[in-house]
Amino acid sequence: MKKAILANTISIALLCAPFWGQQASAPQANAQNPELEQHIRELEDRVIALEGKIRTMESEKAAAAQPQPAQSTAQPESGTAAQTTVPSPATTVPSPQIANETQAGLANAAGQLPVYGGSSAAAKALNPDISVIGDFIGAAGGNTAPPLATLQPFPSMEMHESEIGLQAIIDPYARGDFFISFGEQGVNLEEGYITFTALPAGLIAKAGKMRSAFGKVNTLHNHVLPWVDRPLVTTNLVGGEDGIDDAGFSLQRILPAPKGIFLEATGQVFRGDSDDVFAAQQRSDVSTVEHLRGYRDITESTNVDIGVSYARGHNNGNVTLPGDFITQLYGVDATVRWKPLRRSIYHSFVGRSEFIWSQRQQFPREQRAFGMYASGDYQFGRRWFAGGRFDWSERSQFDNLTDKGAAATLTYWPSEFSQLRGEYRFTRYAENRDGNELLMQLIFSLGAHGAHPF
């Protein structure tokens, strides 16, 4: 094999030799200027290639300085290896063998000089992306929740949440995401998990604490919701703001489907403790969440997203008779999106609805509660959004009590990194008490540019 490589290299070099000769004898002609120009161009190219190399080394490639298995160190260097053949493209026919050898050399050089910590700029390059999102909420108007209601009205003003995000690629096989939220009641690890991105068979696994994949709203952080609050059905049946957010692991995979249809299945197992929804009294009281998502592009600007979810876990019973009971949740969610690509920053529409059924065993009989919301949000300018939401939900422990509500929102974006929202909210409790409120919210984001959720 080595001989073949050698032979190939030699033959290629021999092939190139005549070109070299021609170039060298060229200056005799009056073509001195073009050649000088060509020379300058080549030098320019080399400088640019070097600049690019430095840039990449400074950013992501810094990770390659960490000790890693030989194979993976070789990979990130490949891009630079391609560059080493760059300088004289006109005179050499770059052969893959040469490139490979150079690549191996570079990889070794990087592998032998691991940099641990230190205060250099390169060490900082390995810091995770840090972001802080502030969520300030003000409320006015009247809303006194009846004693049995699950909805907790907002105080006049509160720094509702300060969410710190720390995100980074851990190694060639995984990335890590932490979201720590500081609220009025203290600190809460909202999410903190590792995602294994390099598993075989297209599997994606997560382990840690995470928002479960039950429906849509449950997966979303406060600052990406189209409202100040969460729908009544979330509060009444799925644990409110924190929702089903628990420690466990998750496995997801894209399933084979007819062309044009995206089908994804997610299975999750959790400890079984999430707010009011699930409570685990012993180790075996784990909860599970399953989600199946189907998505299809109708046109390039319109698409439909439909999901079904199931969750099962244990609950503590109620005040009359505490004990070990089972709660099962069924959910259907549907989203329609419209965003014309040519004017995507000016106009869009998202219509969304979720239906959730809860079966909660408790004394003296199982409670079968149903709840839903339907909402629509229209973007009518680069910075302006208007929306509405309708709420209807029974309560998980009292399926004969139904709360209803409606909300209208107006959102203004000074920039991509801050957002001002007003929401008028009407709530009619089952106890025949009404709430009329005006909520104001200011969201502001510092640091790394987070991805926009879809």
């Binding site: 840039r55 990449t56 391609a82 760059v86 770059p94 690629i169």
Partner: protein, 303 residues
């Protein structure tokens, strides 16, 4: 010994055509320009598709799950880099379940490493500067020299992923290089009479083009990158254009024309929708056609 070597070389040559029957590489690119360049060097040994459309703002692409279907089959993902796709590509890569294209893996190629990058901010970078790209201006593909450099980089990467096609990719790159050199001479000649002409653009996506063809971008409709026009900035800009006698406003196809048109009305400048990307108009399907289209537009506008 010598005979053996010759035999080996000959055998190698014999095997080449057979190897070329191999499976095509699936290449997914973030933008159409990268797809066009990959197509130039990849020829019929690759299937290439772009996530963003040419008439779409590449900063704001939705991370649709349908893109995951494409990404999970990809052997190579080519990104523009410099955080252009930061708002949408990272979750797609994570969720693709495709280990070949994860950041740092062999099938992930950030094309910005090959190109000359302008406007790299020095000193403190804050968001008071708008949606500033701390690594430099990501619209670098609008300089044909950068197109050549990126194409060369892509050819190298393709050869690495498909060694049996390495020679083919290099040959195609050489062809592209020659074609581009000829085209560049033509474009340079076409733009020569307009050297130093002043233009205003909506977003700062024209920097590399202006540098290569010696045009002078004196201002932007956006007060800061990514910040929508404000009345006071628009008035300032009108004043500046009048003072500088600037007669052309270039707008990317994904921006609203209302403010540019009012600027045009106030200053007598022409307002033109120029194409920053391949596929911005249906007939513009290659890297060459992109420049041809914009050259035509500029020539007419400057005359």
């Amino acid at each position: 010994m010598k005979r053996l070597q010759i035999a080996l070389v000959l055998m190698g040559l014999l095997f080449l055509p057979i190897a070329s029957q191999a499976k095509k590489l699936n290449v997914i690119t973030a933008t159409t320009d990268m797809a066009a360049l990959a197509q130039e060097v990849g020829g019929d040994r690759i299937n290439v598709e772009s996530i963003a459309k040419g008439y779409q703002d590449p900063h704001f692409v939705e991370a649709k799950p349908s893109f995951l279907l494409k990404l999970r089959q990809a052997d190579l993902l080519i990104t523009v880099g410099l955080q252009l796709e930061i708002g949408w590509l990272p979750p797609l890569i994570t969720q693709s379940g495709n280990r070949r294209i994860q950041v740092g893996a062999n099938g992930y190629l950030d094309a910005s490493q090959f190109a000359e990058i302008l406007e790299i901010p020095t000193g403190t970078v804050t968001r008071a500067m708008g949606d500033v790209h701390p690594l430099g201006n990501p619209h670098y593909w609008l300089d044909p020299d950068n197109g050549r450099r990126v194409a060369r980089g892509i050819a190298g990467k393709l050869g690495e992923l498909d060694p049996s096609g390495a020679a083919y990719f290099q040959e195609r790159f050489q062809d592209f290089d020659k074609k581009l050199t000829v085209a560049e001479q033509k474009w340079d000649a076409e733009m020569a009479p307009f050297r130093g002409n002043k233009v205003v653009t909506y977003h700062n996506s024209f920097t590399n083009f202006a540098k290569h063809f010696h045009l002078n971008v004196i201002g932007y409709v956006e007060p800061r990158p990514g910040i929508p026009p404000t009345p006071s900035h628009t008035l300032d800009l009108i004043g500046l254009m009048k003072r500088e006698n600037c007669k052309l406003v270039l707008v990317e196809p994904y921006f609203d024309l209302k403010t540019p048109n009012s600027i045009g009305a106030a200053t007598g400048a022409k307002v033109q929708v120029y194409l920053p990307s391949v596929g911005g108009e249906k007939q513009v399907t290659t890297y060459f056609e992109l420049f041809d289209y914009d050259m035509d537009l500029l020539k007419k506008a400057f005359q």
